[in-house]
Amino acid sequence: MFNFFNNSNIFIWIEKFINFLNSIFFVLLLVALSFALIFSPPDYLQGDSVRIMYVHVPAAWISLSSFSCIALLSIFNFIFKIKNLKIVIKSIAPIGLMFTCIAIVTGSIWGQPTWGTFWAWDARITSMVILALFYFLLISVNKLIIDEDRANKISSFIAAVGLINIPIIKYSVDWWNTLHQPASIKISGTSTIHSSMLVPLLLMFLVLILYCALIFLMKYKTEIIRIKKKNLKRL
């Protein structure tokens, strides 16, 4: 059972999964884009500008879930010192930073037609900028500190502190008066979004999640080869 989780077996499964993702990705992307840009209706208040939601919201979801994942894995890694977790964390962090930046920029573009400004220091936007800084710190620590043990400790600390920011981002719209509207989609409770908008949103989320999986697997594969390359030099 544990033999299945060694790098060699993971490597072979990664190759198969990358090929599978490559084969279905473009079909799904076309379907999701058609729904988001053509078939979904305009909002009664925001008009067609609501379509920005189909990239902005999934990007924000991915950035929050990536950081939560990184933080939990960092704490787990700090306690149990599992080498594979370190590779997973290193592979997820750049993806998280990228989607945080996409969420901030697309949000800013959406702000102009909706609020009349590209930028406002409201609680949700400010906490998202702080999240981007945490991502940046995590990536910098892993790149700049050569001593692996020290880098592990520092990045675990940063991730644990950054985890506090996640509920702040989530509930900032409820705790403070912000320009952002409260959440329309709730895991527990009834969502206030119509299915004609929910379907394209979930489709775009699925496409972006598959894209993340593809990038993550390629990065993970690169890290495995990097480790094997290091081992080869010891021969």
Binding site: D48, R51, I215, K219
Partner: protein, 77 residues
Amino acid sequence: MINNLILMNGYGVYVWSSFLLTFIVCVIVYYKTRKTLKKYEKEFAKEIEELSVKQKKIVLESSKVASKVFSSYNKII
């Protein structure tokens, strides 16, 4: 129909710039990641190639990763 899709009642510039920006960033990151992976695969395969026959045999038999990368690199060549 196409005009409507492009202009989106005056919101086209915001909607299209958001989608295009996301698309461009995703494509750049995809190609950069792929390029790095290919570079490492190539370097790794070359390092295996430079080993002595005996060492190469040991490495390829003991590591599935090494044999997989080495065989796929040789296929490309």
